[in-house]
């Protein structure tokens, strides 16, 4: 069920109505039922996979809990010399449980999402040796599997790490994993980020409702007016990959499209949650104000970055192998090089995973590696750049320097997005080369009229101005809230009318689905 349908609006309305009709104690149950109905409508029998994930992490949590309790009780009766051995055994048991849960959950994701890609490549290899190919099966992906699998694993690992106490209530855990607004494109929330908010029976507050509706309106605006408008140009550009400016503009507009679309979808998700009083974590924080690639990834798809950091970067960084090689490097290599090599190994996995999470193709692996290389070059060049800055007496706090950094970061992101949007790695290379070739400056030939460009430019200007205020810590919604009722309604009025008149929807335009929905 797409967010941009009357069906979803109706579903949300009924779910909210039922939620508040029930006594507070039972409100979370209504959410759980609504979420499963939503999931079933969207995925039918594939709901079984969501259930399997829930059951595995529920049982894993309970087992780990049980081991922890018996550990406490038994450790009192164990002799001190056996304690270490005993603790190691316990750790092993717990690790085994976590490992099994990871294998089952990533196994499902792997088979459904990546087996086609893997088998395709294996067949490619086999063909070299004239061996008959293996049959390839393509699967329909259960809704949000890339998102909820990560959420499921974060729960188990956090229980294992002792950060969380496993929940005994299956229904509550099922709700954490299936809350319907999160099922299409995340956010990938951790258990301690949303669980409490989901189970608590929230009091009906008109403010929550208005805030939720405001976010949804904003999200719909971003999707229909901006993203889909930019998408018209982008689709035509990436079909023909022209030379020079039109191609570069295509890459810029695709960056704008994916931002407006993904962040717009998040606005709808957060707004839907807010209407139940549920607070979900933010996924975007003005990414184009980033002064470095690292900062960009702390502001763009925040919950994915945070997940990778917690469950890939840290475990690999703190692994025995990495620690050992790290201390070896520190002893035998110059400081800056050692620092570089210590992070190089875990970061390689971080970016490989980031790439492959986005999709099963070499293009996405290259996408992850692109950022990896950029960051590694950044780390490598940092001392040299510092020297240059000091010599030239460049003040890093200078606003012009900051703008330069932001533009530089954005340029790298735009190129990354070009790769992300290209049909394959080869077409990316072709379109990238085309950027530097001379061609006609015929930007009006790709489906957009001057009027459409004006709409997009106004949006970009608004994005910058609002961004500057937000960077200063000003909350725009609070500002609007303080206005008198007439101004407030005028803002909503303009927003709604703009969506209806400027939105790319209906016959003639075909509302495309959210880009991130396929992941």
């Amino acid at each position: 069920m797409s967010f941009l349908t009357i069906k979803y609006a109706l579903f949300l309305f009924i779910a909210i109505l039922i939620y508040y009709i029930f006594p507070k104690k039972y409100r979370w149950i209504t959410l759980l039922i609504s979420s499963y109905i939503f999931y079933y409508i969207s995925s039918k029998f594939l709901t079984i996979f969501l259930l399997i994930s829930t059951i595995t992490i529920y049982l894993a949590g309970l087992f780990i809990n049980k081991i922890n309790i018996s550990e406490k009780q038994l450790s009192k009766n164990i002799k001190p010399e056996e304690k270490k051995q005993y603790k190691n055994n316990i750790k092993k048991q717990k690790r085994l449980i976590v490992l099994l849960t990871i294998i089952i959950n990533f196994g499902i994701l792997g088979v459904l999402k990546y087996s086609g890609f893997a088998l395709n490549n294996i067949n490619h290899l086999l063909s070299i040796f004239n061996t008959p190919p293996m049959p390839i099966m393509t699967f329909v992906l259960p809704l949000g599997i890339s998102y909820y699998t990560l959420m499921a694993l974060s729960y188990v690992v956090d229980v294992y790490r002792g950060k969380l106490k496993a929940t005994k209530n299956f229904g509550k855990l099922a709700l954490y994993l299936s809350f319907f607004p999160q099922m299409i494109e995340g956010p990938i929330s951790k258990f301690d980020q949303t669980a409490k908010s989901l189970y608590e029976g929230h009091k009906f507050k008109i403010d929550n409702l208005i805030y939720g509706i405001s976010l949804i309106i904003l999200g719909v605006f971003k999707k229909l007016v901006i993203a889909d408008r930019a998408g018209i140009y982008v689709n035509n550009i990436f079909k023909t990959t022209p030379h020079g400016l039109p191609m570069f503009l295509g890459a810029i507009l695709y960056t704008l499209q994916i931002y407006a679309e993904f962040s717009g979808c998040m606005d709808i998700v957060l707004g839907s949650g807010k209407m139940f009083g549920v607070n979900l974590p933010e996924n975007f924080k003005r990414p184009f104000f980033s002064k470095s690639i690292q900062e960009f990834w702390r502001r763009w798809h925040i919950t994915l970055g945070a997940w990778i950091k917690d469950y890939i970067f840290y475990p690999i960084s703190l692994s025995k192998l990495n620690m050992k090689t790290g201390s070896f490097f520190k002893k035998h290599l110059p400081k800056s090089l050692a620092k570089f090599l210590i992070v190089a190994f875990p970061l390689l996995f971080v970016w490989l995973y980031n790439g492959i999470w986005h999709g099963a193709s070499f293009k996405y692996i290259a996408y992850g590696l692109y950022y990896y290389i950029l960051i590694m070059i950044g780390i490598l060049l940092a001392p040299l750049l510092l020297k240059i800055r000091t010599k030239l007496k460049i003040n890093q706090e200078n606003i012009i320097y900051k703008i330069y950094e932001m533009l530089r970061t954005t340029l790298f992101v735009v190129i990354g997005m070009m790769l992300f949007r290209s049909h394959s790695l080869m077409t990316f290379i072709k379109s990238f080369m085309n950027l530097f070739k001379k061609g006609p400056i015929n930007i009006m030939d790709f489906g957009l009229k001057p009027f459409d460009f004006i709409v997009l430019i106004i949006y970009i200007i608004a994005l910058i101005i609002i961004g500057i205020y937000q960077e200063k810590g000003i909350v725009i919604y609070d500002k609007i809230k303080k206005q008198n009722i007439f101004i407030k309604y005028l803002i909503y009025f303009v927003a709604i009318i703009s969506i209806i008149i400027l939105g790319i929807y209906g016959k003639g335009y075909d509302t495309s689905s959210f880009i991130y929905g396929q992941f």
Binding site: K449, Y489, F493, I500, I501, L502, G503, I504, G506
Partner: protein, 346 residues
């Protein structure tokens, strides 16, 4: 709290009203020959004074191309209008009739039965042309909600708020879109779409000759024709079924089916395809597009016959001395001038 609720309700009403009010700006202005003047035909009909028309001509494109209401005015002082739509199906014809009778109470309705056996859907544009400019009324709501159309909820909403359908025109709006959006202006042809093109109909000698073929009257369309008959009966309106010359869509078999139906319902049925000689009709000269539609020359012949038939068989008022119809002389003057210009290719 009550203040908040009231202000919210006002906000909703203002937003909905705004959408309703701006919608006509976005509807394409079908005011030219290539669009068969559909906007002018519909909006011109609403411009007619209430209960001022004595005869209504209804049906599909054959009717707006083949009937000249102004000729009837000039010759007999008959106040008539051709309220039609292109690609019209029987399920549209019925609602257009119902809509027509909201403001007029004619003595006679002349209904062209050309599409009586068309069971397939008409194009989206034909439906939109029939309903976009139709005034919001219970009839319109009934029409767009008729399951026969298979309109989605969004489609239905877009017939009430056409901006939902045509918002993409925002970048191509012209002065005309604003000028023609509001108010109702008399259409000087009283619903006729004039064409001076001539393209002979090649199968003129055979199209009515196949005496072995039979054509059924599908239940799907018959239900709506029955509704038309019943509505006229209920309103005490004399209904005349006609089929204007149409080489492209008519046949002897269709004539037989319709003759039988007219007999059953005790209605007069005039098939002009069998009256060609009496009218001195010439398929080489009187059709604009090879037999599908008539041009102004063919229309004149058909209207002459129609006028004579009406005068001989019905008691129709001559309105030329009625002060309330004084503006018809002015309209007739404009029409005659335009017609002359069209013939002379100006």
């Amino acid at each position: 709290m009550i203040k908040k609720i009231i202000s919210f309700i006002i906000f909703i009403i203002v937003t909905i009203l705004t959408l309703y009010i701006i919608s006509p700006i976005f509807i394409p202005k079908w005011t030219k020959s290539e669009d068969n003047y559909i906007t002018k035909i519909v909006r011109g009909y609403y411009a007619e004074k209430d209960n001022s028309l004595d005869i209504l001509f209804m049906g599909n494109s054959d009717m707006y191309r083949g009937m000249m209401p102004i000729y009837l005015w000039n010759e007999y002082g008959i106040a008539s209008y051709s309220y039609t739509s292109s690609g019209q199906r029987m399920w549209t014809a019925y609602y257009v009739l119902e809509d027509a009778l909201r403001s007029q109470n004619p003595d006679i309705i002349v209904f062209n039965v050309d599409s009586f056996n068309f069971v397939n859907h008409s194009s989206e544009s034909c439906y939109r042309k029939a309903f976009d400019n139709m005034q919001l009324s219970l009839t319109k709501l009934k029409a767009i909600n008729d399951p026969i159309y298979e309109f989605s909820l969004f489609d239905k909403l877009s017939f009430i708020f056409p901006v939902l359908r045509y918002h993409s025109r925002i970048s191509e709006l012209t002065k005309e879109d604003f000028k023609e959006a509001y108010g109702y202006h008399t259409f000087e042809t009283k619903g006729q779409d004039m064409s001076a093109d001539i393209k002979p109909f090649e199968a003129k000698d055979i199209y009515m000759e196949n005496r072995y073929e039979t054509v059924a009257f599908p239940e799907k369309t018959k239900a709506y024709v029955n509704k038309i008959v019943n509505l006229c009966k209920k309103k005490d309106i004399k209904l005349i079924l006609v089929e204007l010359p149409s080489g492209d869509s008519w046949s002897y078999a269709k004539n037989q089916t319709m003759t039988k139906y007219a007999k059953e319902k005790n209605l007069p049925f005039l098939d002009f395809n069998l009256l060609l000689d009496e009218m001195d009709f010439d398929w080489n000269h009187d059709t604009a597009d090879g037999g599908d539609h008539l041009n102004i020359y063919g229309a004149l012949k058909v209207t002459k016959y129609m006028g004579k038939y009406l005068k001989e068989n019905y008691d129709i008022k001559d309105r030329r001395k009625d002060k309330n119809y004084a503006d018809w002389f002015e309209t007739s003057k404009i029409y005659n001038k335009n017609r002359k210009n069209l013939i002379n290719g100006v």
